[in-house]
């Protein structure tokens, strides 16, 4: 998580620059024996990563901001300066507004559906049951597939009269069959189901790792005190899973805001933009219509949305986690 690194590093920098608030931390003193060596070491170790970060993250963001002020078809010189017109067009355009809503629906559904499902399955797979490793492997398998492969597989499965329809018909659920990818009111939810299938394994593995951090002694103590299995889960395990859950929400929301590959391959954002996301809208305008200036403006908006969410979430939600032991590990 680059965001975590940068904000923590920035906080450190502020602290040392004004120097007025040592807060129990040893201030960095210049001209210390070995200071030069330490600086050299830092430069050597940090430079490659810093260069990559500058060259492949910060510079492109800056360049995109620059492009976004122009009406530019991607070829030739930038000479049609339009100011904030591209931003205005995007924000005022109904398709982009719908795209944002679609992203928010996916993010909301992720938290409402994927999270409880992940927690439930993780708790189940944390028990001593027969074939546990195999089951863990099975739930994690979809996550290993690339998003493009997932999309192609599901595209075939969801074809009219395809595997899903056949299975439903043989189960006597023929009446529930819909045009999964062609019905404008359903397609977004179809895509959400596929996304869930693909990413549930990641949530489960993350939560299983979190569950390893729950000391067995606490469960024992709770059991001795007569707590039921549900009470132990509710009052001991879940609170201790808190940091993991909060990180999962963070990753999931950011992922939902940027979802692209799967949608693009399965529906191209259609029909009639009913499954368009901010990223498919960006590619559709930037690359397919050769509106690179406008596409850059949309990219910058997408960046702002994600960045704002990341900052707010760090500040108000993740802080209690990062203030504690995690700060020392991460920072």
């Amino acid at each position: 998580m680059p965001e975590a690194h940068t904000t923590v590093a920035a906080a450190d920098a502020v602290e040392t620059v004004d120097g007025s608030k040592p807060a129990g931390r040893t201030p960095v003193r210049p001209a210390r024996p070995g200071g030069l060596r330490k600086k050299l070491e830092l430069t050597l170790l940090l430079a490659p990563a810093l260069l990559l970060f500058l060259g492949f993250v910060l510079a492109p963001v800056g360049v995109a901001v620059y492009y976004s002020f122009y009406n530019w078809n991607g070829f030739g010189p930038l000479n049609d300066f339009v100011g904030l017109q591209n931003y205005h067009d995007a924000v005022a355009g109904p398709v982009f507004q719908h795209a944002i809503v679609h992203n928010l629906i996916i993010a909301g559904l992720s938290i409402a559906v994927q999270l409880p499902l992940s927690i439930g399955l993780a708790l189940l797979l944390n028990r001593n049951l027969r074939g546990r490793s195999f089951l863990r492997l099975v739930v994690f398998a979809p996550y290993v597939l690339s998003e493009a492969i997932t999309a192609v597989i599901w595209l075939l499965i969801l074809q009219p009269g395809g595997f899903v329809d056949q299975v439903m018909r043989s189960l006597g659920l023929g009446g529930l069959i819909h045009q999964w990818l062609a019905d404008t009111s359903i397609v977004l939810y179809t895509l959400f189901v596929v996304l869930t299938w693909k990413y549930i394994g990641f949530g489960i593995i993350l939560l299983l790792a979190g569950l390893q951090g729950v000391p067995p002694e606490l469960r024992e103590v709770a059991a001795l005190d007569g707590a039921s299995s549900w009470q132990t889960t509710r009052h001991i395990v879940l609170p201790l899973l808190g940091p993991t859950i909060r990180i999962w929400i963070f990753l999931s929301v950011i992922g939902s805001l940027q979802v692209f590959d799967l949608v693009w391959i399965m529906t191209l954002g259609g029909p009639a933009d009913s499954s368009a996301t901010m990223a498919t809208y960006l590619i559709d305008h930037g690359f397919r219509r050769y509106e690179f200036g406008y596409g850059s403006a949309v990219a910058v908006l997408l960046f702002i949305v994600c960045f704002a969410f990341a900052l707010v979430y760090q500040r108000f939600v993740l802080r209690r986690d990062t203030d504690g032991a995690l700060t020392r590990i991460v920072g």
């Binding site: 045009q179 690359f287 397919r288």
Partner: protein
């Protein structure tokens, strides 16, 4: 990790754009000599046979005759070109030869300064290709050479038509609608369409416009981008009436046009639908999708039916062509290679393999497939071939049209809104 991969891709794209901006000042003329050994990087859309093999053989043959020229061939899926080409032309290492559909897209790409002006090198022989080559010109200069020409029309299954009791293909929209009803009554899917890709939808609107508008109006529209003649609205109304007959397969909004056996082309090849409005490339597309080529003998072709009361000349066809452009990075060998592609030898193979209609009339005789012979006969008699509007218009406008028509197919929008989105995009709106 959705997040990391997407941001990396965006970053990479931006970097490519960035380097392009830095390096685009040095646009050079093609290297004069073709004597030294050169390797031409060739991007074409022949990802399936017969096109793939044909181009491989063509490159091998050219290399055998010109040992100094070798090829790096990169077949790219058709839908990928729209995204790959802008990036490549912004970068410092574009391909030497790449797929070029001409029209407004060509004009957009010329602004990159990376397209080779072929005018003087081809002036001696370009007239052999007839009027088709004009689609690859901009401002009186030749920026690409077509290797085939295309005509859009209805591909149909004779066996399924017979099954529904249809004796002759329809010639008017009224007959067409009656046939759709007959096919439905015979529990067949009347028309297949690949609406997921949007451009197949636009073919219908395009053709209704071609039938409703006079040839002069059509010609003016491609340059003025103004659709204020009432015939354009009538085209939308015709489309609306046609859609009301619900002629398409279930879930057509999610069907791709050319990818996989479940695509609209695959449905015709496997006899799951009776007809499809597609270009003459349909035959080679279908050959790549199914292993059994029995369907070829069952195919027929008829032109888009006449529309009663339309001002359009009924012999005008919708079409276009495939061609190649050389980039400024390429040597003179590139132009010579394009000339070779347009030569009678290669053109005969293009015709014989059913890749498309040869652009060189001398090769017409090599068309072996009877259906393609029908298409070729129709196209040679056409009074004018209107290039598909999404290609004829500048890219942004063309794509806006495709999207608006696709929305209309999906049940949103009005005939007026289609025109409005074209006008809006032409004036710089998003």
């Amino acid at each position: 990790m959705r997040r990391i991969r997407t941001s990396a891709a965006v970053a990479l794209a931006a970097m490519v754009a960035f380097t392009a901006a830095c390096s685009s000042s040095g646009g050079s003329s093609p290297a004069a000599s073709a004597t030294g050994p050169v390797t031409l990087t060739w991007w074409h859309n022949g990802t399936t046979d017969p096109v793939k093999t044909l181009w491989q053989q063509t490159a091998d043959a050219y290399h055998a005759a010109h040992p100094n020229v070798s090829f790096t061939i990169d077949p790219i899926q058709n839908e990928q070109f729209t995204t790959k080409i802008p990036l490549a032309l912004q970068g410092s290492t574009p391909p030497d030869v790449y797929q070029q559909w001409g029209g407004g897209q060509l004009t957009s790409q010329i602004t990159s300064g990376k397209l080779m002006d072929l005018t003087s090198s081809v002036s001696s022989w370009i007239s052999e290709l007839g009027a088709t080559a004009a689609g690859w010109q901009a401002g009186g200069k030749q920026y690409g050479i077509p290797y085939d020409q295309h005509v859009v029309g209805f591909w149909y299954r004779k066996d399924l038509f017979a099954q529904a009791g249809i004796t002759a293909p329809p010639t008017t929209m009224d007959e067409f609608n009656a046939d759709v009803a007959k096919l439905k009554a015979a529990k067949l899917v009347p028309v297949a369409i690949g609406s997921k890709d949007r451009w197949p939808d636009a073919f219908y609107w395009d053709y209704f416009a071609v039938r409703e508008c006079s040839t002069d109006t059509l010609k003016q529209a491609s340059t003025s981008l103004k659709l204020d003649d009432p015939c354009w609205t009538r085209a939308g109304n015709d489309l609306k009436a046609f859609l009301a007959t619900s002629p398409f397969q279930t879930g057509f909004l999610g069907t791709p046009a050319q990818q996989g056996a479940g695509s609209s082309a695959g449905m015709i090849a496997s006899g799951k639908a009776a007809m499809e409005l597609q270009g003459d490339w349909e035959l080679s597309t279908m050959t790549g999708l199914v292993s059994n080529t029995d369907f070829k003998s069952k195919l027929g072709w008829f032109p888009f039916p006449a529309v009663t009361g339309g001002a359009g000349d009924p012999s005008v066809a919708l079409g276009g062509g495939d061609g190649y452009s050389c980039t400024t990075k390429a040597t003179a060998a590139c132009v010579d290679f394009l000339k070779y592609l347009a030569s009678t030898d290669v053109q005969k193979k293009v015709a014989a393999d059913g890749v498309g209609l040869p652009v060189n009339p001398a090769a017409d005789s090599a068309l072996t497939d009877p259906t393609l012979q029908t298409v070729s006969a129709y196209s040679s008699k056409a009074s004018y071939i209107q290039m598909y509007f999404d290609i004829a218009f500048p890219t942004a406008v063309g794509q806006a049209l495709d999207t608006a028509v696709a929305d209309f197919f999906a049940g949103t929008g009005t005939p007026a809104k289609i025109i409005q989105s074209v006008t809006n995009s032409a004036s710089g709106g998003k």
